[in-house]
Symmetry: C3
Subunit: 144 residues, 3 copies
């Protein structure tokens, strides 16, 4: 069994943003030498997501707006005023922990004949919900 590990470092200058990781994951698959196997890609931080969807600018803006409606940013810690108890810990990112659950932590992608086994529009994205600092994404590949 072959295995390969790669960590990507990402920096979104705003609080919320999306970065297409597909090219970097494809490179990791080539570097791994794996022809048949599985590729795990996960956020190593708990206020960020890795997910698969379409590379389309309107879609990314739709996601940001929708997530804001489901879990609005609020730096306060009083739930009666729209705040988050988590923010009592000194953080202001209670909303980001919820946005991340909607979009997910990880994706697992099949590797077939040495390539990501994707449908026509599948692209891998990093979703940041508490940016303005370096964050990491893990790629782990196993197979043969």
């Amino acid at each position: 069994m072959r295995h390969h590990r790669k960590v990507l470092v990402l920096h979104v200058p705003e609080r919320v943003g999306f970065i297409n990781l597909t090219r970097q994951v494809e490179q990791a698959v080539r570097d791994s030498g794996v022809q048949e196997g599985l590729c795990l890609v996960n956020a190593m931080h708990i206020t960020a997501s890795v997910f698969i969807n379409d590379e389309e600018e309107g879609l990314k803006q739709d996601y940001a707006r929708w997530l804001e409606s489901l879990a609005p940013f609020n730096p306060g810690s009083d739930p009666g005023k729209g705040g988050y108890l988590h923010n009592r810990s000194g953080e202001d990112n209670g909303d980001a922990h919820q946005k991340r659950q909607i979009m997910g932590r990880e994706v697992v992608v099949a590797i077939t004949a040495g390539k990501l086994d994707f449908g026509p529009w599948e692209q891998i994205f990093y979703g940041e919900f508490d940016g303005r600092r370096d964050k990491r994404v893990l790629i782990k590949i196993i197979g043969e």
Copy 2:
């Protein structure tokens, strides 16, 4: 290491619907000859989901109604009127990209002693949110 790949083609005649894939995934596990391993099942399209839940008719109707409340269908592209910016691209499925994120793209299921290692009620479903055309689901199995 053994590996096996199977693509299912699905066609939901309505915009939204659910199809139980469990029997077809079980068949793929048998065909693979894998006794111990992992089975990935994922939608190859970005307006559809693969998820695990119960085979119960009311539940499927509940999911459809709930997803409609969280991300209502609207063919327009003006967010101020309930539309989706994604629909500026000529699509009318902005809602489907959001429904898919709630329900998820993929499941990973353990294979033990040659079978899907499931709890008593676990069933694998395809969730369609922009149907009326052929879509594909990928099954990828690795193990020994």
Copy 3:
């Protein structure tokens, strides 16, 4: 290829609650002898989740409150009165099937050098949405 299977039995005395599973999953990884591979952890029940987030008390209360707002508990079966069609089957847990989809069924974690390959705050949680009885979580590890 090595493989290892472990089932955890959990009992949350309330309807909704969260249990940190990280130590038990770490033990399973040690027991497996796997140095490089993947670790799947999934709920075997369809009204429960396994997810990764932060061990922080306020956060857990935030999740419970937020999930209640997105899918409120209601033992009735009339959607016009906030009930769930699923509850016609004699259950009262229609809400729990929806909460589980938000938080997810499973996580897949990389194993590197014999350990869970985690970012600094990642912890594995069981999320219960229809408790007061024994439930099971499956750990399946493959690798070498």
